[in-house]
Symmetry: C2
Subunit: 542 residues, 2 copies
């Protein structure tokens, strides 16, 4: 990690704190490691990111149901799921300064070529001796590693001994509610159940800003499929030719690079377990590209045998390369019927679904699992821009920007302030997501708007008072054009939904921008596209 | 509580379980008292309810920022807030069967005229003796009451002794982030900070279905105001004449009923502490009415002196009367500068805001606090309908219904199924929130649609194949009219946004419904209303 690379994270953290994007939790009390809060700007971006995900993965399907379950679950759930006995990390403590570390992480720093993650506690103890690992804080000698369960424990009710745990993944609510959901929705296979919500892992050493947190947010889908139909996805044709990048196990062993294949090829070569699995790798690739992540910077890494649970028949992590390292932000797992079987057994509940031919099956599960908090960080990293301005900016896709536009009077005097404020409310009433900013020089306001990634600034100036036009400034190019106030809401909608580009405004309003007018020459095709986009508007949500 | 009244709750619980609205958490493991999950239908209604709240309380203002903070907070936060020492309920245990109860609740069952809530542990012990209270489960004698802290405790990280607590209210994140928010947003007084999220209270005896839960959801606004400007709300004129119902302290003592006054009168009579407080009582009344709650069924109860924290200068709970009892679902508190002062002191952080004249003030706080889970239950209760149908239905306001319409083929044969399925996808692409249902007799599908409160059913029948029209059925009247397929999306939008009524369809499509056509006679005024509503569509969200 070079100094420069380190700077990227530092710079982003600085902007996050200064501009209300994310804050450390309980900062005034010295903070709490592994916890963060979304400030006003970050919270808007988070909501837009979640809405975009819902559109892409839920609203565009007909058979995925979203639920929202409890964060505290009783002990029995995690006895059955196996989390109580196996959801551990190897904890090692310095005999001298008492600092605690993850034994596998310390070993990885000694030798990156070995996957220590997969070793038993006994094997780790031997390795710590072999590599002569000492305390990274004080150089003292380390004790023996021991298993540390990552679930946060609490007590439910006043009777002691009634243990509850904060869920370490949203998935378990879906499995334990499976029967109720299937029955109440009269669901037939295949169908999916999605959940967006908090999850908790009591990490030994939280690190990397928003990457390894103790409290975070997930968006998960559990897709339930008849095991005989895993290669019969109804929409396979729509994705079969879609190209994805895969880092094979072979490549990982030989230091190779990711290969680009169509999902059909990946299936034919036996790289992925089935069509349902491939369908999600395609959708995820499309989603990452829509967030502005460079297509050459990410791939699906096939987890090694040693990293894969015994019941799993396929695990691929979406990894994104940044200057300072790799961020993993989506996990894909073919969980088979493992979870439903375990809960069926422990709770003595039938978890099968009747097929139309009367046959009963325990469905198999394909799980795409998204880390919201990590995706949010990826979005910040991928959007962060520096150039010939004196400030940085986030080139957020319009759909996730905190606001659509800022309304700013050039000056506060001569009625400009009042005109701008009225215009702000007009746009708000028209459903445009605007904020009003009158403080400081106009240049400062451009800077502030760019810094939080707002696509457009609308400035009310002296000409506005004469001819009811305003200037619209583009975040990405800093170009400005004049447009009529009365058409501003429409223009912003067309820009946001990519019906027109910012550059089109020069021609469209040529008479206001020193060129011959092309106004009114919008083709029928453009109009039709505009209407279609308008209809989709509703799905954008707030 | 009569048998009939009890039935209402039972019936609603039965529908909730059967139709995917809410489920008990970990039901297959015998459940966990005080925890519920939103099933697929309930989750949609919950999301719509939250969107509606955001529109009403946040999007319509210019200076309210939403944040989203950690659920686990370190001990120091609650030392400062006072929750660690005072957020207790009086726990009493049966010596014989070991059951646990809230001492004040047992006493209230003996004598409803006394407010036992306000008594000390010593006073409660005397009262338990005086009223000769015994165990309601086994009749055994009760031990001495003791304080039980309602916060769920956990341990942060592997080092023991580092206590964290699940937040018992969302408000504390707002106070501890106050300085960061104010600075990063360059916020000037007055401004508000809102938060929607989970909160946790380890109730001794959870009860009343969704009313007294251990894990629930809140929507809170902390409005920060210069203490000298509390009676100078910029939008006071918009609410001053709005009528609200108040149950005064006097009325509570004398067994009186709520009085109806304008917020201006409430202020003039000294019933409410200031304009900001009154502004929210008006907005909340308007919000409840928009949810379909009967205006004569709710009021703001002025909490008695004994129920009010020493620092509070005004507390009003919104209470709604149902046949089985009263549900309190919004709390309003004038928290003064208490919380900011406490955190300023304990964390040694400055919490003041500079006014334009240079003066620095610690703002005062007005807090409207909504229980999402309780509001959700209120919505179910207020919408529940029985009539001459063989099934029940929820008369949800369109804006919170789980879907806008169901698409159903009359039969599965003769191409009706295919036509209906294509039509379903067309409407979905047009942004209409539809589901597809082909299973069972059409009458059953009407029943299923009504039961979960979907406003409209669109049926594809043999006539559809001839003339491309469908029938649209109204949930509330069961009336049906024929409309053209091509205009269906538009018709649904106009119905949902109350631009037209269902009855208008009879005239509008008279030639399809056996009457002379009035089509094309939409007035300019209607068209304009239609456009305006369309623009607001975006804010409806998903």
């Amino acid at each position: 990690m070079s100094t420069n690379d380190d700077d990227l994270q530092k710079e982003i953290i600085e902007v996050c704190l200064r501009r209300g994007i994310v804050f450390p939790t309980a900062e005034i009390y010295g903070g709490a490691a592994g916890f963060f809060e979304y400030g006003p700007i970050g919270e808007l971006v988070r909501q837009h990111l979640i809405n975009l995900w819902r559109e892409h993965f839920i609203a565009s399907e007909e058979n995925i149901y979203e639920i929202s379950g409890s964060l505290i679950l009783p002990e029995k759930v995690f006895e059955a799921s196996g989390h109580l006995s196996t959801f551990n990390d190897p904890l090692i403590q310095c005999d001298k300064c008492k600092s605690m570390f993850r034994a596998d992480h310390l070993l990885e720093e000694k030798d990156a070529s070995i996957n220590f993650d997969a070793l038993s506690i006994q094997e780790l103890e031997e390795m710590v001796k072999k590599y002569e690992v000492t305390c990274p804080s004080c150089g003292g000698s380390l004790g023996s590693p021991r298993e540390f369960n990552l679930m946060f424990e609490t007590q439910i009710g006043p009777v002691s001994g009634n243990r509850g745990f904060l869920r370490p993944e949203t998935a378990q609510n879906i499995f334990i509610n499976f029967k109720r959901i299937a029955h109440s929705m009269r669901a037939q296979l295949p169908f999916g159940v999605a959940q967006i919500g908090k999850a908790f892992r009591n990490e030994i050493s939280p690190r990397n800003f928003l990457v390894r947190l103790r409290e975070f947010e997930q968006m998960e889908i559990e897709m339930f499929v008849d095991p005989d139909e895993l290669n019969n996805h109804p929409r396979w044709d729509e994705v079969a030719d879609y190209e994805i990048s895969i880092l094979t196990r072979e490549a990982q062993k030989t230091g190779g690079t990711p290969i680009t294949v169509t999902v059909q090829e990946a299936l034919d070569k036996g790289l992925i377990p089935n069509q349902y699995f491939g369908y999600y790798l395609a959708l995820e690739t499309e989603f990452l590209l829509s967030l502005g992540v460079d297509k050459d910077s990410f791939w699906f890494r096939h987890l090694l045998e040693s990293e894969t649970a015994h019941y799993s028949k396929g695990n691929y992590d979406l990894e994104i390369k940044f200057p300072f390292g790799i961020v993993e932000c989506i996990g894909n797992a073919y969980r088979t019927d493992y979870d439903l079987m375990k809960h069926a057994e422990k709770s003595n509940t039938k978890m099968h679904i009747a097929l139309p031919d009367g046959k009963k099956v325990i469905p198999h599960v394909i799980e795409p699992s998204f880390g919201v908090t990590r995706l949010f960080y990826v979005l910040l990293l991928a959007s962060y821009q520096k150039g010939d301005r004196e400030w940085t900016w986030f080139k957020f896709p319009y759909s996730v920007a905190p606001y659509e536009a800022v309304v700013a009077p050039l000056m506060k005097k001569d009625g400009l302030k009042e005109a701008a404020y009225d215009f702000f409310w007009e746009l708000k009433d028209e459903g445009i997501d605007v904020i009003y900013d009158e403080s400081g020089q106009i240049g400062k306001r451009y800077a502030r708007s760019d810094e939080i990634g707002v696509p457009f600034v609308l400035t009310i100036d002296y000409q506005t008072l004469e001819d009811e036009t305003v200037t619209i400034r583009d975040r990405d190019t800093t170009k400005q054009y004049r447009i009529p106030m009365a058409e501003t809401a429409e223009v912003i909608r067309e820009l946001i939904f990519n019906v027109i580009t910012f550059q089109d405004l020069e021609k469209e309003y040529a008479e206001l921008n020193g060129k011959e007018s092309k106004k009114g020459k919008k083709t029928e095709q453009q109009k039709s596209a505009s209407n279609k986009k308008r209809k989709q508007k509703k799905q954008k949500g707030n």
